[in-house]
């Protein structure tokens, strides 16, 4: 799954260059230029991808650290 997540990040970077929409002036829903709509889609997809990243690609050693620090808390709520 970790590799899928990083694959999605690379895919996002590739899709971000959307050469195929460069001269397209279609309006989505009658008001949203398709270039803007596509890149808003990229922002949403980035949110989803990063959600998958923190779920499936979070460094395993951090889980161990969290468990150790929760048994010996240092800070407090801001």
């Amino acid at each position: 799954m970790k590799y899928v997540v990083w694959g999605l990040v690379v895919l996002l970077i590739v899709l971000h260059q959307d050469n195929w929409l460069w001269d397209n002036d279609t309006l989505v829903f009658g008001f949203l230029p398709i270039t803007l709509a596509f890149h808003m889609g990229i922002s949403l997809a980035a949110g989803i991808t990063w959600f998958l990243a923190v779920k499936f690609a979070w460094p395993s050693e951090l889980h161990i650290d969290e468990e150790q620090s929760s048994s010996n808390p240092e800070g407090g709520d801001a």
């Binding site: 309006l27 829903f29 808003m40 922002s43 951090l62 801001a78």
Partner: protein, 511 residues
Amino acid sequence: MMLATINGGAIVLIIISVYLAMLLGLGLFSARLFRGTSKDYMVASHSIGPFLLLMSLFGTTMTAFALVGSTGESYKEGVGVYGMLASSSGIIHSLCFFLIGVKLWKLGRANGYTTQVQFFRDRLESDRFGLLLFPVLVGLVIPYLLIGVLAAGTVINGVTRGAFPELFAETAGGAPPWLASLVICCVVLLYVFFGGMRGTAWANAFQTMVFMVLGLVTFYMIATKLGGQDTFLANMREASQAVDKEYMTRSHIPKLKFLTYMFVPLSVAMFPHLFQHWLTAKSASSFKLPVVAHPLFIMVVWAPCVLIGIWATTDLASVPDAVPANAVLPFLVKKLAGPVLGGLLTAGILAAIMSSLDSQFLCLGTIFTEDIVVHYGGENRFSEKQIVLMARLFIVAIVALTYLFSLFEPRRVFTMGVWCFSGFSALFPLVLAALYWRRLTLAGAYASVVAVIISWTLLFRDSQFGKDANYDFLGMMPVATMITCSAVALVVVSLLTKPPSEATLRKFFPE
């Protein structure tokens, strides 16, 4: 009744004053939670949870550019600016938080770092490396600070014009920029001075909410009035259908330039003020919410502003040619929404400016204290109280110096914005290698920083010192060349020189 007797500019000024007073109150309240230690003052005792971390990171990375600049740029360039500056940042900023921020937080917690220079000195086993990196970081932050201070003065002067024709006759009746900048500097100074990092994080969270909500309210008000139709959707359709094709596409943006613009947001990996915010996190898990929500927050702020920018190019908006691009949003607010919303929007713009200024002031105070005075004076020489006092005095000095610089009206500093970001981005290979490449050596790090200094200087000179706003090198953004020079120098020199000691490798790359 009372509002009817006060002119528009004065209403705006009253709203701004109320907003600043609220902000000051919040900052001073947070100071009551101060625990008296330098760690608490500089990194809030690593106590910031996910929500505050999200808001403070987002508020720090978004400047006034997010509201007025985004509208102005789309007014000039069309919808392509969203891809160049917003969706790219959504991918790259979160990538940096994930790959760089979390790892630096972990090392910072384990080894007690509060500044980047401390980390690099330790990782590269070199005291002198700090002496090279320190001026580079400070030199790149200062123009960024000046932009904020000057922008605050300009914004307040613009929206209060005509309010006090006798008192401020020389500045068309508006609050003079020097006075407005002074007030903003004093407000930020007060809550940073007393509240330290905790006050800064709280103020950032409050200000981020303010500019996000007010941005959306402004969009709704403008969108419902611009098209002259009955419904919100019908108005938006009317406005968009009136836009010329060139503003709805990227036909005038070179593809290579668009592609290489993606290197610019890498700058967040080396912002010293962001490093300090990362270290405030209570746990590694605190990073999860910022990593996920950051791209969505960028979309919420940028997409409405970009739409307003392209609508402003139509006859429906009738923006006079004399109105500069960055004044398009305030112009439309004034025309379509009246002084109350104008005042609120101005508060939102100032919120975006101040939520970056505060972190930068605190960060410079911290690095002067930690990297120079404490480092060379000796760690055990000063008490906690003395270190906090020094940090506060440095912050006062930096605010005063920045303000004095701003009085010389260095308008050219505005052209420095993208160059500062490019400089930080060019240092990205250094921080990436320091965290993930065991073979990085001190000589490789020196070579990388020197390559950044040389390539940045040559390209900046070639752009007529920033005067050529559309400057590119070989059809690419100059940052692409700088990053290439930095990465190549780092890899080649590291491979040719002696690897770091086993002790350092064990410390930074435990099995």
